[in-house]
Amino acid sequence: MNEGPQKLIDEITEGFSKHGYICSEQIATAVYLASQLEKPILIEGPPGVGKTELANTAALHFNQEIIRLQCYEGLDESKALYEWKYGKQILYTQILKEQMQEVLEGAKGLKESLSRLVDFEDIFFSEDFLETRPLLQALSTENGAVLLIDEVDKADEEFEALLLEILSEFQISIPELGVKKATVKPLVMLTSNNSREIGDALKRRCLHLYIPFPDANLEKQIVLARVPEIADSLRKQLVDFVQGIRELDLKKQPAISETIDWAKTLILLNSEELDVKLATDTLNVLLKHQQDIEVVAKEVPRLISDALGSSNGKSLN
């Protein structure tokens, strides 16, 4: 019994790496637990460490559809859960007017006509007139799905309350139709950049995964998986260089996505070895603030010699 979980976790790691996502043990464990406990995961971490990508990969791995809900300020239930197709309803009533007349024909008195009409209302508030939005969609897929609620911190606090029912019970109450339960519980992932503190109620219902910047080893693997054509020595130098930059005091640290972009850039430039000029010229791929670029530009020679030194040391070993 004790071997089971570890084996399954290893399987996840392996499966993810097939899709080009190298994950740490921590991430794999989180995915395993989420599918085991059927609980949503709240993923936090600095931007660009692959939070959204994790959900995409999970969908590929479990061979399920990914349903994505991008959060923004002012997002409400008609955009997230469901909406009635009012236009269609009105159009249909117009078209069906004559039929209605027929139905009502011969009805004696108000009471009888009303009782005949009552049946109609149910038709207009049926699933045919229901516009499903991402959250409801995720509940109604037959093969299960990966539901990604992206940047939940961007939405208003009221929206969090809306999520609670779905996340804990996997159901949505629609007044006209009753409670809609999930046929297959979707794997839910929420991401947050921590621009606002997420409420305790929501946190309590989720597993919590924090993805930090990767260590040098993991990052090298990631670059290898994402940019396989890169030369070994360059890859090591590049990652060591980026790791060095992260130790500086910057406004925005370069994340994995930036490392990958940079690796691609260097390949485009046909470079095989990192040097001071090359690094300085391409810094803007890695850093997104002018201030940061200025700070790092001063440090480039030192960082380069560190990166070259360590990779040479390794090759000697």
Binding site: N2, Q6, I9, E25, T29, L33, L37, Y210
Partner: protein, 444 residues
């Protein structure tokens, strides 16, 4: 086994990690799945289920390591025979364990005895010695001491025997080890009420009297307070949404009413965040308070985005940028070094303030002045206060001195208070919190 987990949760709660019963249940079902065997796996899984912020995760790591080193050994070593239950008279079991037993056995004996003395109930640090003694007694230290005494009396006058010497050193070692163990357990299990007590004291103590060595703790307290205040008031703002009629949304929303505009939607312009300008006196006369004032100012800049901070003793300077970029200690040091310690000149500070940012003061601005209004009998320039007062939405003055001392000596509180919306006494953290709560309520 469930006991182990609940104890661990308790230990986590002591370390200020908030864990709800529902999360404990989650943890239990997880543990049922992964088991206790693989410690790394256990740590990874629990760290996903229990702590919910990066800070909590750090605390969790520390807690887990110190908690489960013992727990796991205890539960796997269960098979070793029980020790020290019935000490014999000839040579006590304890002596045997000390002399022959491995380190692990001794630790195990300590853990067993600790378990019997209900070490988990430890609450205050003053109880440490009691528990240490209790554990030692449970382990049979009385007999061991007797034995050593006997050996001494038999040997009359001679140098103490080898055995006696050895036992004595072992005994001192054991004492230390037990007291370390108790200390460690105390950190895990005790202190919730202790810490709360300490915080209570800090809150109601005059800020000038809090020793600087408690800076760290007070800072975390102040920071939590600032965060809570900011959270509370950012939520409050939402109730005030008003705005223009959002025609597009109204039209589309009212399809269901056959196009009759029944439910109106409003597009609210994002409420302009309030502007708060805080001016803090860091001169010699308020030196003792300055640190805490700055600490609070710092925490506030962390949580309220539109806040500008100024400090002065005679000349005034802006520190907003420094506070945003640096950490607490260096930021405060820098502010004090640059502006602090000199003699106070409110007149000069006010004219600096006016020339620096009078244009920024408008009907949405709240100006907060922290200081004792002791002006060294210099020119007060209260007409500048009037100018600020007339332009700003409100002006608050927070005075760290007791009310009875206002207007004594060189204090010119009255002259300034005429141009303040309100003047508060603010010498303790509690008072400070109350004042800031009022401030945020009215400023937003």
């Amino acid at each position: 086994m469930e006991r182990v987990l609940t104890d661990f949760v308790k230990a986590l709660r002591n370390a200020n990690v908030r864990i709800s019963p529902a999360e404990t249940l989650d943890a239990m079902s997880v543990v049922n799945d992964v088991g206790y065997k693989d410690k790394e796996l256990l740590k990874r899984t629990l760290s996903i289920v229990l702590p919910k912020t990066p800070e909590e995760k750090d605390k969790f790591d520390i807690c887990f390591d110190s908690f489960f080193t013992d727990e796991i050994k205890e539960s796997t070593d269960q098979s070793t025979p029980e020790l020290n239950k019935t000490p014999t008279n000839t040579e006590s079991n304890l002596a045997k364990t000390l002399l022959d037993g491995s380190q692990g056995e001794i630790m195990l004996a300590i853990a067993d005895a600790a378990e019997e003395s209900e070490i988990r109930e430890i609450k205050y640090f003053t109880q440490r010695s009691v528990f240490t003694r209790r554990i030692l007694e449970k382990m049979g230290i009385g007999q061991l001491e007797d034995e050593i005494l006997q050996m001494g009396s038999q040997g009359e006058g001679d140098a103490p025997s080898e055995l006696e010497k050895k036992l004595r050193t072992e005994l001192t070692g054991l004492r230390e080890r037990v007291s370390d163990y108790v200390q460690q357990q105390f950190l895990l299990h005790g202190d919730v009420s202790g810490e709360q007590l300490r915080e209570q004291v800090f809150k109601s103590m005059n800020m000038a009297q809090i020793d600087r060595s408690y800076m760290q703790e007070v800072h975390s307290l102040v920071r939590r307070m600032a965060k809570r205040l900011a959270n509370m008031h950012s939520r409050r703002k939402k109730n005030y949404r008003r705005g223009k009629l959002d025609i597009r949304k109204t039209l589309s929303d009212n399809w269901k009413n056959q196009g009759i505009l029944f439910d109106l939607s409003w597009s609210y312009k994002k409420v302009d965040r309030p502007k708060i300008l805080v001016v803090c006196d860091v001169s010699g006369s308020v030196g003792a308070y300055a640190r805490f004032m700055l600490m609070f100012l710092f925490s506030l800049t962390e949580v309220v985005s539109k806040l500008r901070a100024f400090v002065f003793s005679s000349n005034l300077g802006e520190v907003t940028q420094d506070f945003k970029e640096a950490n607490l200690e260096p930021a405060i040091e820098k502010a004090l070094q640059k502006h602090g310690g000199g003699s106070t000149d409110y007149g000069q500070a006010l004219s600096d303030f006016v020339s620096l940012c009078l244009d920024d003061i408008d009907k949405k601005t709240t100006v907060v002045i922290l200081g004792d209004a002791r002006n060294n009998f210099g020119p007060e320039k209260s007409h500048l206060m009037k100018l600020i007062f007339e332009r700003a939405k409100q002006v608050y003055w927070l005075n760290p001195e007791g009310k009875y001392r206002w207007n004594t000596g060189d204090s010119v509180m009255t002259n300034y208070s005429a141009y303040c919306t309100k003047v508060f006494q603010c010498g303790t953290i509690d008072q400070l919190e109350r004042v800031i709560a009022t401030l945020l309520k009215t400023a937003i």
